[in-house]
Every structure is written in structure tokens, then in C-alpha cells.
């Protein structure tokens, strides 16, 4: 077991250049031949923020102070997670030609899609933080230091999911379509668009409590919106979730990996 893990890590290290090339390809290649190029990566989450702001403030009326900050602080991490799931599903079947014709550690493909999502997230989040700073909303610099740690936990958590789903998609293509629908619904049972309080009924609260993503999003909220360090309890739960997700994900992936090339 230890020996296998060591071999796996050593091989991944050897393929670091491939990882970098794939990330560069993902970032440069996808929107090549478009007018605004890289900016398309940011258009998606920003337009979502704008739409929800419009809908929520005009239809439901303003209920949350500085709603846009609340929305942004949760929406971008959510987008990191959902894009990791969605593009993760396609990371193996979308590179079928490569997988069928050459040997390399297959999980590099998954990591590279996650990494490009992470880079997009980082850039957009820096913009958000800058805006928050300028807005005079006020926050704690100490809380901000915890941010990279929380981002790392969310990334590891997402990677676990992406690994499992990417491998499952090779065997059952329907998974990719299912994931699209599930993520669409998922956002509504996560405290991103609304705040988490007990006024919405016990049922929803229960759902929110068992939704693992709630704990991550709440961490982001407390750092950026509330300007305080996240609860130690939340961090602990997130750490456990991230570790469990990754271990399960990589195990499933390694188990299914051997049958990839004949099923593509």
C-alpha cells in the first residue's frame, strides 16, 4: 500500500511538466480564436452573480446587507466546485485519443482540469476581494490569512469528486449528464443565494446540515462577509470531508483506470 502510494507520487512528480502543459492548454486552448480569449473563463461566474443579484434584489427585495458581497463570497467557491465536477466528468472521455494511444498517469488529466478551475477561481476571487476592500465593508486581515487554507480544502474535496466521476463517466456516459442536473439543483440547497437561518423550516435546515458543501461555503462567508475566522468546528468538518472525498475518489479512480482505453 505504502509502496504503491510512493510509486504513484513519484510518477506524478515525473509528469509535472505534462500537468503544466495541460493546464496551459486548457487556459489558452479552450478560448483560442475567440475575441476576448481568456476573459471567457471569468464571464460565466460573473454573469451568474449579476443575474442572481438582479433577480434577488428586484423580485424578493433586499433582505441581506451588502448582498453582492454575500453572493460573491459564496458564488465563486461554488463555481470552483461545480466546474470541477462538470469538467472533471469530461476530463477522461474528452481526451480519449490521448488515453487510447499513450501511457501516462491518467489522473494527471483530472488534476489539470481542477488546476485550471482553481486558477480561474483565484483570479476572480482576487478581483472580488479588491472590490470588497474598496467598498469599505470592512474585514479582518487575520481572517483573510485563513482563506488559502480553506481554498485548499475545497480544492482537495472537489478533486475527490472529480476523480470518481471522471472514471465513472468512462463506464457509464450518463453520469456526465446527471452531474449537470444535480449541480443545477445543488446550488439551491446550499446557503449561497440566501442566508442560513432557522426561519425557513426544519426540513431545509436539515438538508443544509447534511450538505457537505454548506460547511465550505460558510467558511468563505465568515472570512469575506463576516470578516472573522471560521469556526474551528467547521474547519475540522471540512478537513475530514476533503480527506475522505479524496481518498474515496482516488481509490475508485485507480480501480476503474485499467479499463479506460478499451471503453473509450
Amino acid at each position: 500500500m505504502i509502496e504503491r502510494t510512493e510509486r504513484w507520487l513519484r510518477e506524478l512528480f515525473n509528469y509535472r511538466f505534462m500537468f503544466r502543459e495541460l493546464v496551459a492548454r486548457e487556459l489558452k486552448g479552450r478560448y483560442r480564436n475567440t475575441l476576448i480569449g481568456y476573459l471567457w473563463h471569468l464571464v460565466n461566474p460573473i454573469s451568474m452573480v449579476l443575474i442572481f443579484m438582479l433577480v434577488f434584489s428586484s423580485v424578493f427585495g433586499r433582505t441581506i446587507d451588502d448582498y453582492w458581497i454575500y453572493l460573491c463570497s459564496g458564488m465563486f467557491p461554488w463555481h470552483l466546485f461545480s466546474s470541477a465536477l462538470n469538467s472533471g466528468c469530461h476530463s477522461i472521455i474528452g481526451n480519449a485519443e490521448m488515453v487510447k494511444k499513450m501511457y501516462f498517469p491518467r489522473d494527471v488529466l483530472v488534476y489539470s482540469t481542477i488546476a485550471s478551475s482553481l486558477i480561474n477561481f483565484t483570479i476572480s476571487y482576487i478581483i472580488v476581494i479588491t472590490l470588497v476592500l474598496l467598498s469599505g465593508h470592512g474585514f479582518d486581515i487575520l481572517a483573510l490569512i485563513a482563506l488559502p487554507f480553506v481554498v485548499a480544502l475545497l480544492t482537495v474535496f472537489s478533486t475527490g469528486w472529480a476523480l470518481a466521476l471522471s472514471a465513472a463517466t468512462v463506464y457509464v456516459r450518463d453520469v456526465a449528464y446527471g452531474v449537470g442536473i444535480v449541480t443545477m439543483l445543488w446550488i439551491w440547497v446550499t446557503p449561497i443565494l440566501y442566508m442560513m437561518d432557522s426561519s425557513r423550516g426544519a426540513m431545509l435546515e436539515w438538508v443544509l446540515r447534511i450538505n457537505p458543501l454548506t460547511y465550505f461555503i460558510e467558511c468563505f462567508h465568515s472570512i469575506l462577509y463576516d470578516g472573522v475566522l471560521p469556526h474551528a468546528g467547521d474547519i475540522l468538518v471540512c478537513s475530514i470531508l476533503a480527506a475522505a472525498s479524496f481518498i474515496i475518489g482516488i481509490t475508485v479512480f485507480k480501480r476503474l483506470e485499467r479499463g479506460f482505453s478499451e471503453r473509450l
Binding site: 511538466f17 495541460l22 492548454r25 485519443e97 494511444k101 479499463g259 478499451e262
Partner: protein, 660 residues
Amino acid sequence: MKEGNAVEVRNVTKRFNTECLVAGPGSPNGRRRRVSRKRTVLEGIDLEISKGETFGLVGRNGSGKSTLLKILSSVMYPDSGEVEVSGKVASVLELGMGFHRDLSGRENIRIKGSMYGFSEKEMDGMMDEIISYSGLEEQIDDPVRIYSSGMHARLAFAVAVNVKCDVIIVDEILSVGDAGFRVKCSNSFREMKKRGMTIILASHSKDIINSMCDRVAWIDGGRVRDIGSGESVCYRYEKSLTDCFDTVAEMAETGDPAAQNRLGEMYRDGSGVAEDPGEAVRWFRKAADRGLPEAQLNLADMMYYGTGTEEDRAGAETWYRLSADAGNPDAQIRLAETGNPEPGKDREKIMERLRGLAEGGCLRAQASYADCLFRGIGVKQDRREAMRWFSRAAEAGSVSSQFQLGLNYRDGLGTEKNGELAEIWLSKAAGNHHMRAKIELANMFLKGMAAERDLPKALRWFKDAATSGDAKSFYQTAVMYRDGMGTESDPEESRRWFDMFADQAYLRVQNNLADILFRMDPSDRERQEAADIHAGAAGRGSIASAYQLGIIYRDGLGRPRDGREAERWLGLAASRGHQGAMIDLGNMYLKGNGVDKDEVKAAGMFTMASDTGNHIGTALLGTMYMEGLGFEKDPVKARELFLRSSEFGNREALKNLKRV
């Protein structure tokens, strides 16, 4: 893994799951159900490939070659069994190669290299080399989507060749790309080989496999059917393609004229399928329509000898003409016969007579009649009957029939293949100084045709053929010593044979030159020159030149007449099996022409010629017995000799036969 091995495959089995929707029982539009089938692609494959070896895979489409290569490159995993590969592997599997269409060639090289697990630094170091190797300097910064398929292959191959790895696996890359690229590929394979890399390649091209591979495995139906040297495996593989009814039928359906003709022959001869003249004609006609001369001949034969109606005969003539015009010698013969105003009668009369003579025991008639039957000249082709006559003539001592008989046993023409009989008869012909018999025997053992491969025997026969003057056999012998085939590898001995080969080739040129000089009504100086050339060649072992030089001294052509010299050179040529020299020297002794008259010596020469199957020698020996020269007078013996010689059509013997 054993030391020195680059690849070990042990009992590897691979099955594919194929799922498809199948119409349920009842109407085809009924409910369809999902059916999962397991298809076995590889079964119990065992291979060992040593370091530095170039290993080839041949086999039909779908035989499992590509799957095996994928398993070796770790792209796929076997269901059971083990695969071990030592060192870094680079593979070029199929086309397309997973390039990113919108990125440039240069960027794709980087990605590709990264996929082999190289670092950026290593890749930058190799970049220029790869680009210049690919020959795509001008397009390297264009997106790959505008590349042609040949350019894709170049790029993929350039990367694989130039990255530093220990094992390279290539699947059918050489069939794409132009001739220039192919040459480049071959060169780099050679280069890689020199560097000690292990190369594993699959190809449908026999030339490529033959010229590059140390060993070849023939994969058939997911198993290793045969493994060995390129030449022998390819030979058997190709042979199976032309012997297997299903394969031939399949190829014929796709419209390959050669296969159609072969299929027609199978239907005609009932080999591998029930005899069916109708089908035979149908397939011959298809191939004939596409202009294959052999098929035109076969079709015409079927029409001519088949029904025998006026209409068909006229039709046959048209096909004979077409085939003859395309240069088929047998068709030309048939056409000449059918062109006869009374073709049937005359031809039949001649054949009848030939047959009569053959039955009467005339060797030459037997051999000739067998040949006619075998090739269908003037009589309906009947290879089995031909074999019967070849056997008779061969047993009675006809060397050419011995050779033909052995050849037919070897190749299974008109008979079952029989390696033992093939060897017996070819050896007999070879023992009678039949040069081609020696060469064919050597080939038979080299390639394992009809018999087990036997390299020591092949080597022995090649050496035999070489020492009796066959230049190609010198070369083959040298190669066998070099590669340690049938003997210990012996570079020095190999060198010696290569030198002799070069010598032989040069001697032949000399011989030709001298011949030309003699033929064109030479001046004295030219004669002298020709004589000098022969003298030089003879001194270096050319038997033909030794003979010529003997004649030159005997007749004083370009050299002063010199009986002693003539005797010396003719004797040398005779001792090396030159029959002309035996007879000429015998005659010199007999007549005291330039040497002391010596009937015993003359008789010795004629005996030698006669023993090696020369009918002139036999006739002359008969005369010696008849006249009591060198021997006691012995009319019985003389008669016997004349009889034997006359059977080969010797007129002198025939005349003397009446006198005895």
C-alpha cells in the same frame, strides 16, 4: 525478469466486452435487449524480447497485434497474465496521435514530450532536433488542424524517435507518409538499433518486416502462431494467406484480381473447397476482365478444354491472345497451337506420339511429356498425371525431372507437400550437379518450406552451390556466418565469404567482357585482351574462365597454342564440375591434340561427364567401349550407354546404337 530481456509477456489473455442491442425473438422490430458478449482478443500469449532486438509482428487485421502492442505500452491491461517491460517506453500507436488540433505543431511537440514524462528542460533540449527531423520547419507554428495525415504521422514519429527511451513501439506507422519519409524511418530504425534500443513494430509490409526485424511473431486469432526469423515467418504467413480458402475468398470478394485467380484455381483443383468448374470459371472471368494474364490463361483453358463447343473455343482464343499479348509465355504457346488450321488433329497427333515414346520408356519423352502435362502445353493441364511422369523419368535418372519432382513435392504442386521426398529428389538432382536444385534445397531449409527449418543443412547447400559457382549463394553463406545461422557466428569466415562474393560478382563482369570481346570479330589485340581477362579471372577461381582459358590455349586464340596450359586449365574446370571442360579435355586426350595421346585419361574424363548426367559424355563413353579405346571392347556395355544417351535425344548415340 531474465537478464538481457527488454520485454517479457507471460500467458497474457485479453477479452473485450462488446455490448450491443439485439432484436428480440419474433419480429425484428420487437423489443430489443442488451446483449453482452465476451470476445477473446489475445489468448495465452508468451513472448520474450531481448534488449536491442528488433521484433516484428505480422498478422491479419483483427488478429490482436494492435491490442498486444497496446498492452506492451501499458495503454491497456491484460485480463490475466503478466507483462514486464524494462526501461522507458515510447509508443506510436495508430494515426491521429491525440494532437490538439488548435495548438501549433511546436506546442503539440511539447505536450507530446510531456506525455512521455519528460521535463520542460529535457524537452527544450530535444525540440530543434525533433522539428528538423520531422521536416516540418515551415509549418511548425501552424495549428495542427491544417496538417495532412502524413504530416501528423511525421510529427508523431519525429517525437517518438527523438525522445530518449529504451523501448520503442510502433504500430503500422510506415505505411503512411511518402517514400522519402519511409526511407528516413528505416534509417532511424537502424540508428536506434545501433544505439541498442529495443524496437517492436507491427506492419503489413513484408519488405519492412524482412529488412528490419531480427525476429518476427505471427499473431493469428489472438495466439502466437509462429515465431522465428523474418523470412521464414513471413513466408509461412503469406503462404497461409494464399492457402486458406476463407482468406482468399474474402480477398477475392474485395476485388483483388490475384486472389480471384487463386480462388478460381482452388475451385478448379478442388483444393480447400469442393471442386466446382462453374465457380472456377466465374472467378477466372472476374480476374481476367481486370487484365490478369494468368487468369486469362486459366479462363481460356477452362473454355477450350471444358465444353469444347465452337463458340467456347473461339472465346478461348480471344483470351489466349490477350494473355499472350500481356507476355504470358504459356498463353503464347497455346495461341501458336490454336492458330494451327487443324489444331486439334495435329497437336493431338504430336502429343500422342510423345506419349507413346514416353510409355516406351524414353527418358527424354517422359520428361518432356510430364512438362507438357504440368504446364498444359498441347494437352489439358493435369498436374497429378504430370507428377506420375516426372516420378518415372526421375527414377530412371532424368536430372531435370528429379529437380522438378523435388520442387513439386516441396511446394505441393500436383501433390501433397512432402518435405522428405522433396529433399530426396532435390538432393539427387543436386548430386548430379543441378545448380538450381542446390539453391532450392538451401532455400527450402532456410525458410522451412514443407519441412522443418534446418539452418545447418541450408548452410551446407548454400556452400555447395557457392563452390560450384553460384554468386548469390556466396552472399547467403556469408550472411549465415555473420548472423550465426546454422553455425557459430564467425565474423572472419563471413568476411571471407563476402570477399568471395564480391570477387564472384566481379569475375562475372570480367567473364562477360571477355565474351563480348571474343564475339565481335576480334582483332588480335582484342583477343589478347580477352585472354588476359580470362587468365586473371581463372587465376582467382572463376570456373567459367578457367574453361575459356583452356580453350584459348588449346586453339591458340590470343595466346600461343600451349597444350600443357590447356590441359591444366581444362582439368581445373573439369575437376570443379564443368561438363564442357570434361568433354573437351577428354577429346584432347583421345585425339592427342596438343597433349600426349592417352585413351585411359580420355575415358576417365568421359566417365566423369557421363556420371554427372551429361549425355554427350555418355555417348562418347559408349564409343570408347565400342571401339575398345581405353577399355576392353564391350558391345553390351556400349549398347547400354548409347541407349541411355539416346534417351536424352543424342543423335550420335542413336546412330551408333544401330551399328552396335
